[in-house]
């Protein structure tokens, strides 16, 4: 059952609130806009004695992630948060966290990477980290931020997974927008996440010395990468299991890929995070006019739900893929991976790439309306199929 209690919070405070309820053993973080409010709010909880967390102030994100690695290696529940250049500064440690199989939870208030310097929301930070071995969850709104945080812990610490999880929300657009959020009660969260599972032991098991992070050369490195690959293969079934359990316990339904008015749709717009709220409004508006359009929202980008997305998209006539990040000289990330996933079918929908909202530019109803118009044209004529557009650029 849900708590039935609502709080008005922005996305950053939502993240901090979820962290408070999780009450991790260690939080090590460095402030960076638009993530600052997450760790600022959380440090307030620490100062007020509302959590038992050991809060480690560090001099950089590189150290924040290093401290989390050390804490998790010692067997602590460790959390952090960052954005953009902060995430970039963590880069090498991201890979280390994933390869040592440490279930760290990190919130990312997605922000454009410099340069030129920009503090607003796009996915260039998280997309750059997509091969680091972290699970990536995406959140359309504050409620989803909250529920993703709570579920992230269950996913990360699952015995088949033991991988770090990144919970993404759009910088400013989500992190600084106040919405109604219905949190669980502290007790519900405590019962749900439970104690650290027995398989998550860490270094500090007395009488049983362990070495974490030894040199791993040609004769073993490949095998350990295979272990990471295999763990990632198990993540989607675990997410499904966690989401179903969450639904049973709290009556909140989440799926790996959300389908919105897509059952009888001829065309769909696919995208992640906050833009999908606007897309749903557009879908509602166009449905009123009898246009058979829907929305598809992957909540997970790593591991990429390739079979799930391909099976959903195969029956539509025209598909638009929205990416809030570019991959200069190649295809945009969500577009590229969706194309690859669709290759297994002989009959495929017309599909087009849209790069949008870089540097936090608003992706408005009007702009998305042009995407819908393109889809209407493309579904019959194929015009624009496999082309790449930059939505709203001058």
């Amino acid at each position: 059952m849900s708590s039935g209690r609502f709080i008005a919070v922005d996305g950053a405070d939502t993240a901090a609130f979820a962290m408070k309820q999780i009450d991790p053993d260690v939080v090590a973080a460095y402030p960076i806009t638009p993530q600052t409010e997450i760790v600022m709010k959380f440090s307030e909880y620490v100062a007020n004695g509302e959590v038992k967390t050991r809060y480690v102030t560090v001099e950089s994100e590189h150290s924040a992630m290093s401290a989390c690695v050390a804490a998790a290696a010692a067997g602590a529940r460790a959390m952090t948060a960052t954005a953009a250049n902060g995430l970039a500064l963590m880069w090498e440690i991201l890979y280390i966290a994933a390869s040592y199989r440490l279930p760290i939870i990190m919130g990312v208030a997605n922000r454009a990477l410099s340069g030129p310097i920009n503090i607003h929301g796009d996915h260039s930070d998280a997309m750059g980290a997509r091969d680091s071995g972290w699970v990536q969850l995406y959140s359309e709104n504050n409620q989803e931020v909250y529920d993703n945080y709570i579920m992230a812990l269950k996913i990360a610490e699952h015995k088949d997974v033991m991988l770090p999880v990144m919970v993404n929300q759009d910088g400013f657009i989500t992190s600084h927008s106040v919405e109604n959020v219905e949190p669980l009660t502290d007790e519900q969260v405590r019962d749900y996440i439970g104690k650290k599972p027995a398989h998550f032991k860490g270094l500090l098991t007395y009488g049983k010395p362990v070495t974490i992070g030894p040199l791993d050369l040609q004769d073993y490195y490949f095998e350990h990468k295979m272990q990471q690959h295999t763990a990632m293969q198990k993540v989607l079934p675990v997410i499904k299991e966690v989401q179903e359990d969450y639904f049973k316990k709290f009556n909140r339904k989440y799926e790996i890929i959300e389908k919105y008015k897509a059952d009888d749709a001829e065309m769909v717009i696919v995208g992640m995070n906050s833009v999908m709220g606007t897309v749903k409004d557009l879908v509602d508006e166009l449905r009123e006019k009898g246009v058979k359009i829907g929305a598809i929202k992957p909540r997970v980008f790593r591991p990429f739900p390739k079979n799930e997305i391909a099976d959903i998209l195969k029956n539509f006539k025209a598909v638009a893929i929205l990416d809030r990040a570019d991959s200069f000289g190649s295809f945009a990330p969500l577009y590229a991976e969706t194309l690859a996933a669709m290759y297994k079918f002989e009959k495929r929908p017309y599909i087009r790439s849209y790069i949008h909202g870089l540097g936090g530019r608003d992706t408005t109803m009007e702009l998305l309306g042009t995407v819908a118009n393109d889809l209407i044209k493309m579904k019959d004529s194929g015009e624009g199929h496999l082309s790449e557009a930059y939505l709203g650029v001058r």
């Binding site: 390869s99 040592y100 199989r101 440490l102 033991m162 049983k208 010395p209 362990v210 070495t211 974490i212 992070g213 030894p214 791993d216 004769d219 073993y220 490195y221 490949f222 095998e223 350990h224 295979m226 272990q227 295999t230 763990a231």
Partner: protein, 95 residues
């Protein structure tokens, strides 16, 4: 000296080493190009070689140097270098 290497699903996750002292099971002797040869007749058991060996490969039994642990000696030659009596010589490995 043959090692049986485990496959990915038999190894501890993340490259962790779950027991202490397991470097014994890693035969660094396979890296060697020159091997130390100990001449007991010249040796005065001063233990200079034992003190300097970076791989703990000088074998001492009943207070006397009796030879080298060739499973782990990497053939660096420090022992031969520090021996005041030239009781250790480096000879090319024949493989």
């Amino acid at each position: 000296m043959k090692e049986q290497k485990k496959s990915w699903n038999e190894l501890p996750i993340g490259g962790s080493i779950l027991e202490a002292g397991n470097s014994k099971n890693y035969f660094t002797g396979t890296w060697r190009t020159f091997k130390p040869v100990h001449n007991a007749k010249l040796c005065i058991n001063c233990y200079f070689c034992w003190m300097h060996c970076p791989d703990d490969s000088i074998v001492i039994e009943n207070g006397k140097v009796t030879g080298m642990d060739l499973d782990h000696c990497k053939g660096c030659g420090v022992c031969a270098e520090v021996c005041p009596k030239k009781a250790i010589t480096m000879e090319k490995e024949e493989k």
